[in-house]
């Protein structure tokens, strides 16, 4: 327990809140890497996931590829990529590494959401004369939204935990406290940094839980009602 008290003392010490690189700066860096990687993961994985879910083709291949990407050791990948692009561009290398981690979850959420839409629903949408694009965007995507948000949520958690590695290639973030704490045996700093990461992860998770709640409302009809009234205007 004293360790937690020391970690708390470390977290609240004035050094952490003023000076060159404050705790808030580090949280900002950490959050930035996480959100950028999450955004890129979504940009990559959502179209592919929708395509796979909508056509029902290529599922085996994409899932296998994404899963294989997840198995790559992140620290090794980060080192190799950083050496490849040069350390001045380390943020790009780091983003790629985090995206590789984020894509499988988002992909699974995207295709599962689309795939699990009742066949009768998509059939009737087509019978009403909807084009494949309309079926995807107006029927399948909204109905699959809760699962997609779920995928984003688990990706965010993965990335926020792994963003610790950014400190290894000179990008800062909350990982600095962990790396430095281990080497200097400053366990208050190490635990303080870990607590900050956990807090950040909980906040992110809560945000996505909230988004998930709204996604369910969209999927269960309220959302579509409002868009259809918009259409009549």
């Amino acid at each position: 327990m004293t360790l937690f008290a020391e970690a708390w003392a470390w977290l609240t010490a004035p050094e952490q809140w003023s000076g060159r690189a404050t705790l808030l700066d580090r949280v900002g860096e950490h959050l930035q890497y996480t959100l950028v990687a999450l955004l890129v993961s979504a940009l990559v994985a959502v179209p592919i996931g929708y395509l796979v879910g909508h056509t029902g083709r290529g599922r085996q291949l994409t899932v296998a590829l994404a899963g294989a990407g997840r198995a790559l050791p992140s620290l090794g990948l980060l080192t190799v990529l950083t050496l490849l692009v040069g350390i001045g561009e380390a943020d790009r290398a780091a983003t790629v590494v985090f995206v590789v981690l984020g894509v499988p979850s988002v992909l699974a959420g995207a295709y599962a959401g689309v795939e699990n839409v009742d066949g009768a629903v998509t059939d009737s949408a087509r019978a009403m004369g909807m084009t494949p694009w309309q079926v995807l965007l107006r029927v399948e995507a909204p109905l699959g939204l809760p699962l997609l948000v779920g995928g984003l949520r688990s990706a965010a958690l993965q990335i926020v935990a792994t963003a610790v590695l950014a400190a290894y290639v000179g990008l800062g973030g909350l990982g600095i406290y962990i790396l430095r704490g281990i080497s200097l045996r400053r366990y208050d700093e190490m635990l303080g940094g870990a607590i900050a990461i956990v807090a950040l992860a909980i906040v992110l998770d809560a945000v996505f839980a909230l988004l998930g709640y709204f996604a369910v409302r969209v999927a269960s009809g309220q959302g579509r009602l409002s868009t259809s009234t918009e259409g009549h205007r």
Partner: protein, 307 residues
């Protein structure tokens, strides 16, 4: 075949050690000296390639002297292996005087090889001791590119005060808090620097960062073969800010005499130049530690017919 047997033995020893860990095992060794001299010496190493080569050299030298050796290499953190040494699970590991001293006395004032080595026996916990240290060092050092050094006429940390531009120092995250980090540079040399944490201990990432100008100077260990490549200039440290890091065998006290008889000779031959050459064989020729150790010991006349 040989390696698999060693692995098997290591596993067996590990299991044994795990069964009777800590003090209950330490007590009986004092009365029953039979397990003292007779049993195999467990040689440990850090998870650092250069350290493993030195450990392998110790191991082969001991084997040549007729002592049974068990290898327990690649033990990561200093916390972990020092505990293993204190618990008697490891008998000897190659260490670096400065880092070892700093582990037990974080605010030590000692800097030179002699002072650091002199301070160590008192700093070490009971049951551990050091043998003669080698002249060879693997210390922190600040390095700039050769172009930077030539353009600005900077060859020493003392020259940095006269440099107008911004100076960014790169190294492991903990360097920022070390006495020879940014604070030391400010105090002893009057230089204000920014700090960038790069976590590969002066490895390829740090070197790349120096080359491409992301950092002005980087912390690279002095036994790194790349320092001889001509790309870098190691800045002198006239104020002796940086702690000496002589290679030294850290051993359990009850086996010190037996081990010193063999290893003092080895340490005497281990200069920084030799250390760099050893590391270069690993980095450039991709040889394994066992081969490098055998060839070096033979070349130095430390094994075989000589003794």
């Amino acid at each position: 075949m040989k390696t698999s047997r060693v692995a098997l033995l290591a596993t067996a020893v590990l299991t044994l050690a795990a069964c009777g860990s800590g003090d209950p095992l330490a007590e009986p060794t004092e009365e029953g000296t039979s397990s003292g001299t007779g049993s195999a010496v467990v040689v440990g190493s850090q998870a650092y390639y250069s350290n493993e080569i030195i450990a392998e050299i110790y191991a082969q030298a001991l084997e040549d002297a007729g002592i049974d050796v068990t290898r327990q290499f690649q033990i990561g953190q200093r916390d972990v292996y020092l505990q293993a040494l204190e618990g008697g699970e490891v008998d000897i590991i190659p260490e670096y005087t400065g880092n070892l001293l700093q582990f037990y006395v974080p605010d030590t004032e000692a800097r030179s090889s002699e002072d650091v080595a002199a301070a160590l026996p008192d700093a070490l916990p009971e049951g551990l001791t050091i043998l003669e240290y080698a002249e060879g060092q693997d210390a922190d050092s600040y390095n700039v590119t050769t172009e930077f050094s030539e353009e600005n006429g900077i060859t020493s940390l003392a020259d940095l005060a006269g440099y107008d531009g911004e100076i960014v120092v790169g190294g492991n995250a903990e360097l920022e808090s070390r006495p020879y980090g940014p604070d030391g540079l400010q105090e002893l040399y009057g230089v204000d620097v920014d700090f960038l944490a790069i976590g590969d201990s002066g490895g390829p990432l740090t070197k790349d960062a120096i080359r491409d100008g992301t950092i002005t100077m980087g912390d690279i260990y002095t036994a790194d073969p790349d320092l001889a490549s001509g790309d870098f200039v190691t800045l002198e440290d006239p104020e002796s800010m940086i702690l000496a890091q002589n290679v030294v065998p850290l051993v359990t006290a009850d086996r010190a005499e037996e081990l010193a008889a063999v290893l003092d000779e080895v340490s005497a031959a281990l200069t920084t130049e030799e250390l760099i050459a050893l590391n270069a064989r690993s980095v450039n020729e991709q040889l394994d530690p066992a081969t490098i150790a055998t060839e070096w010991l033979t070349e130095q006349g430390l094994v075989g017919g000589g003794s």
